[in-house]
């Protein structure tokens, strides 16, 4: 008999991200949500995923619970295969050893270009200033498959990003290669709080692949700042499972620092 599960938008994005990883592959982990995605994924789905952090931790096995503010501390460099530095970390990705990368975004455009630098005004005098690239530009440039995690708010999906911090497919097919970026790389999926997008082989434009169980695809895309392509068949995304939620809430982030967010629910 059907029941309703309740979760936050963040929990849903984290669960989706964790399900996208492949076991025995490498994963370049960005700051914040991707850290939790890596932990959940490794615990539940991809025990042999190799995490890599830009500050030189190769293959750590993070200690639980996740300690907020930890970036380079013992908790998320624990039991690494190797401890190096930033230039070596980006050597691994630049020479092709990083299969997946994951990044958050303020804005994303139809080609998966990311803005994480500013909103409104000009670069010199923005209305709102944010962190900027960090190592995001390298991750999006080097990794074979970049996964973008972004809250599903229409204003975040724009025809053109105000500042191109980290490269998606730039202006379309062939543009990355023309710019000199490594061939065969680019955004792979966009994980949102309502849906999952991919990119069309031919046009490199964002394509709706699936929506959270119970949501209407047209509702999901209607307030986006651009019209994404629609897959022939729009799949249904299972809401966070009991096991995913238990791990997130009890073992990974009991302080609810990273998994907090807007309440959502779905009937299963």
């Amino acid at each position: 008999m059907p029941r309703t599960v309740e979760f936050t938008d963040t929990e849903f994005m984290i669960a989706q991200g964790a399900r996208l990883l492949e076991d025995g592959k490498t994963f370049f982990v960005g700051w914040g949500i991707p850290q939790v995605v890596a932990i959940l994924g490794q615990k539940l789905y991809v025990p042999d995923v190799i995490q890599l952090f830009e500050f030189g931790a190769i293959g750590p096995q993070s200690v639980l619970p996740f300690v907020r503010g930890t970036m380079g501390g013992p908790q998320n460099t624990f039991r690494s295969l190797q401890w190096l530095n930033m230039n070596w970390a980006f050597a691994y990705s630049a020479s092709g050893y990083m299969d997946f990368g994951m990044l958050g975004a303020l804005q994303v455009d139809p080609y998966g270009n990311i803005n994480s630098t500013f909103l409104g005004g000009t670069y010199e005098r923005p209305e709102r200033r944010f962190a900027g690239s960090g190592g995001g530009n390298q991750v999006a440039s080097h990794c074979w498959k970049t996964i973008i995690v972004i809250k599903h708010e229409g204003r975040r999906f724009v025809p053109k990003v105000e500042f191109l911090t980290s490269p998606g497919y730039l202006t379309g097919p062939g543009a990355r290669e023309k710019a000199g970026l490594p061939a065969g790389t680019g955004p792979y999926r966009v994980v949102t709080s309502k849906a999952l997008f991919g990119f069309d082989e031919e046009t490199k434009r964002m394509t709706l692949l699936a929506v959270l169980r119970g949501l209407d695809p047209d509702d999901v895309v209607k307030d986006m700042g651009f019209r994404p392509l629609m897959a022939k068949e729009i799949d249904e995304i299972h809401p966070p499972t009991d096991e995913e939620l238990r791990l997130l809430r009890e073992e990974i982030d009991p302080s609810r620092f990273l998994i907090a967010g807007e309440p959502m629910s779905a009937v299963i």
């Binding site: 013992p74 005098r125 710019a179």
Partner: protein, 323 residues
């Protein structure tokens, strides 16, 4: 001091390799001399107004926070900060009127620094973390530039002095960044001897690159050890003494951040920092934690306290590999 150059509207620090080499030849000593001194002495001797400053690692992990506070205490002016993980340093240095330009990196969080950028109180350039690390490597390798296959196609190219050139072998476009030879580098380490040999346990951003590429290097160390220690285990030496100008003994020097395997991050204090929004809050924080105390020791005594330090040490339970 490294020169300021312009590419269009963009200012960037750059020193031709020959100029840096001449400084290393004439102004850096290869003699093993005791360099132990106070933070006050080190910062007044080796940090000048207008200097370009870099540090390793971050606000939350092994950052040279006691040295940053000393810079603020001495009210240095017009600093240009090369900052990778700058979560608080840039905000504090800007709020204190010390920094006017920042090369990032990852520009912190908390709204104060963002607001300062919006108001034009500090100028920011986008080199990205990988770009800054590569600039440092170029500075250390004595070459004027290094190539990389990122930055390409992004707007960071327009707000940094990175360029695109044709690879001499394939003709394909590749990005290049100019060498960076900072005026001064702050590096907080686990162990140092009085001459400046130093060990960092765990990962680092670009500790050796920065020490080699910088005109002046100030180490702050949790622990001062016997020089013989380093020669017994040369694979563990992060920085050899002849790159270093000053050694400051600074237990809890990374506070409120964490020192891996020594003490954990003080989240309550970090929250207080992240909560700074207004100018009043910033000045109040600076007064309490910097201006009103004579030095790091007094700060620890009055603002942190022995009990808190004991707690933070007790929380650092993961020591495996940090030796």
């Amino acid at each position: 001091m490294t020169k300021i150059r312009k590419e269009g509207e963009i200012e960037y620090r750059f020193e031709p390799p020959d100029d840096f080499r001449a400084f290393v030849r004439d102004r850096k000593s290869r003699k093993a001399e005791p360099k132990l001194c106070s933070a006050k002495e080190a910062v007044s001797a080796f940090v000048a107004d207008g200097d370009y400053l870099v540090y390793d690692f971050s606000s939350l992990t092994r950052g040279p926070q006691s040295l940053i506070r000393e810079v603020i205490r001495q009210r240095k002016k017009d600093l240009w900060v090369g900052a990778e993980f700058t979560l608080h340093e840039s905000a504090l240095l800007t709020g204190a009127g010390c920094a006017t330009r920042i090369d990032v990196g990852f520009l912190g969080y908390g709204s104060y620094i963002g607001q300062a950028v919006c108001e034009g109180r500090v100028r920011v350039y986008e080199w990205t973390n990988g770009g800054l690390a590569l600039r440092m490597l170029a500075g250390a390798r004595g070459v004027p530039f290094l190539p990389t296959r990122d930055l390409l196609g992004s707007d960071n190219m327009g707000v940094s002095a990175a360029k695109v050139i044709a690879d001499p072998y394939t003709g394909l476009p590749v990005a290049v960044v100019p060498a960076l030879n900072p005026d001064v580098a702050f590096i907080h380490v686990h162990q140092a001897d009085v001459f400046g040999d130093a060990r960092i346990f765990g990962t680092n951003l670009f500790a050796l690159e920065a020490a080699m590429a910088s005109h002046r290097v100030i180490l702050s160390a949790e622990e001062i050890v016997d020089p013989e220690e380093f020669r017994k285990d040369p694979m563990r030496t992060t920085i050899p003494f002849f790159l270093v100008d000053a050694v400051v003994h600074a237990p809890f020097g990374a506070y409120p951040g964490a020192m891996p395997a020594r003490y954990e991050i003080d989240l309550a204090h970090v929250d207080r920092l992240n909560g700074i929004r207004s100018e009043d809050q910033m000045q109040k924080y600076l007064h309490e934690t910097v201006y009103s105390v004579a030095d790091h020791e007094e700060f620890l005594d009055q603002q942190v306290g022995a009990r808190r330090m004991r707690e933070l040490r007790a929380r650092a339970t993961i020591i495996e590999g940090y030796r």
